[in-house]
């Protein structure tokens, strides 16, 4: 078996293959020089300086050894022949395999930097350490472009380090396109509670400075003085290396319900797009928990007969830590869904809200309400009706 992408989905997939008794050869190809590591701490504990890099390893050395895999780290896959099942590497070699698991994840969307220093994106360990070094040098102001989850976490971490922070967001409310206007507004308030200078509804025209960034120019003609900039405006799936492979690419590697992209080829994690039968929707999920579950599912798909293949039908779930708030979202929500608060209140910033669409419960959002999120996540999985779920909450 060959696994391309040596991160969360790829590593957990390899572990699942071994756990299920696969004892053939496993080759794992990853273009980062590092052993597999965990990304969520990169915008949280590691960036805050609370953890050191050793702490973010995904598995200890012994567990990695037990996988008995042929690791090709620091090696990029540059092509795939789906029919022949071969992967071409950047050193000119080829790996051919009975089954191939694609787990190349995603990378950050970028803005033109005009060649200035001090402008970063955050995806990998090296990005994190570079930003951390910048924060260590006591900048006057940090500008965060994009108030999505990564941007929000970077802003929170920088504020907790006592730095001045401006967050620039093109939408009128942060996360408005995901959580809807009402809940997005709560996210905005959480930033303001913590002294963030929040600029909403403005885009970035460009950066200015001498060698190093000094100023961010905004679309409304104003500007923000900042000596460190972190851009968090979303990610792009890493599929370029698959051009011409024979696989269907469309905002990710397109798979069937079982995570199969072509005979003997599966995809998992941030790079995979598949029809989730639970929601009747084609989705690509950029969450930690999905990378594990889908990595495991896709690994099993590779070694199972077509007749035994199971659809992959999870309720997506993720968390984001901002300041002292633990925000969790389960399900698949849209801005125009019905939203009902079922516990706590937005004023106290501790609440749970249910999302409904066409009479069905489709999501649950929690601010410091972990138990509610898991409870209603289970109800989403069972296909519960929206009003029924609200009733259950009233009886609690």
């Amino acid at each position: 078996m060959a696994i391309v992408g040596a991160s969360l989905a790829g590593t957990r997939a390899a572990e699942a293959l071994r756990r299920d008794g696969y004892d053939g050869a496993i080759t794992i190809i990853g273009d980062e020089p590092h052993q597999p590591y965990d990304r969520p701490p990169l915008s949280k504990q590691l960036l805050a300086g609370e953890w050191e890099p050793g702490r973010v390893a995904l598995s200890d050395d012994e567990s990695l050894r037990e996988l008995q895999a042929d690791w090709r780290l620091g090696r990029r896959a540059v092509g795939l022949d789906a029919a022949a099942r071969t992967v071409a590497l950047d050193d000119g070699r080829e790996v051919s395999a009975e089954g191939i698991l694609i787990a190349t994840g995603a990378r950050c969307r970028e803005l033109p930097t005009s060649g200035l220093d001090g402008i970063h994106t955050l995806r990998g360990l090296d990005d994190c350490l570079a930003i951390r070094a910048e924060l260590d040098s006591s900048p006057q102001r940090v500008a965060v472009v994009g108030a999505g989850f990564i941007g929000a976490e970077v802003a929170a971490t920088a504020r907790e380090r006592g730095l001045e922070v401006t967050v620039i967001e093109a939408l009128p409310v942060p996360l408005g396109r995901i959580l809807g206007a009402e809940m997005g507004a709560v996210c905005a308030e959480v930033h303001r509670d913590h002294g963030v200078d929040l600029r909403l509804g403005v885009g970035v025209d460009g950066f200015e400075g001498h060698g190093r960034v000094e100023r961010v120019n905004l679309s409304d003609g104003s500007s923000v003085e900042a000596d460190v900039v972190v851009v968090g405006i979303g990610v792009i799936p890493n599929t370029e290396w698959l051009e011409g492979s024979g696989l269907e690419l469309d905002n990710g590697v397109v798979c069937d319900e079982t995570c199969l992209a072509a005979p003997g080829i599966v995809a998992a994690g941030d790079v995979a797009r598949w029809p989730n039968p639970l929601f009747g929707e084609i989705m690509r999920v950029e969450h930690w928990d999905n990378a594990i579950a889908q990595g495991q599912h896709a690994a099993r798909r590779l070694v199972s007969a077509d007749s035994e293949a199971q659809p992959y039908a999870p309720v997506p779930w993720f968390w984001s830590d901002q300041y002292d708030r633990k925000i969790q979202l389960a399900g698949r929500v849209r801005p125009d869904d019905d939203v009902r608060i079922i516990a706590g209140s937005t004023q106290e910033r501790r609440f749970a809200a249910l999302y409904g669409r066409a009479g069905r419960l489709v999501g649950v959002l929690g601010f410091n309400r972990p138990r509610h999120v898991m409870k209603y996540r289970n109800l989403i999985e069972q296909g519960a009706g929206f009003e029924d779920a609200v009733k259950i909450a009233e009886q609690e």
Binding site: R12, D38, P40, D289, W319, P370, R371
Partner: protein, 66 residues
């Protein structure tokens, strides 16, 4: 050789992932805290405990061999 389940309650955020994987070992109660139903679940539960260790997003669970 047995093993003991150890939870770092400072890291744990009570998101109950572990409870979904091994409900016989982990329980998040109405007070939003995680409780260990047993520290020594035995060999039968080992696979599920290992899975919970991996699935805990906060790396809050570990296993001490003894």
């Amino acid at each position: 050789m047995g093993y003991r389940v150890v939870v770092d309650y400072y890291l744990c955020e009570s998101n109950a992932i572990c409870m979904q994987v091994a409900p016989d070992v982990f329980e998040v109660r109405d007070d939003d805290f995680l409780y260990l139903l047993t520290e020594t679940p035995g060999d039968d539960a080992r696979g599920r405990v290992n899975e919970a260790v991996q699935r805990c997003p906060k790396q809050a669970i570990s296993v001490a061999e003894e």
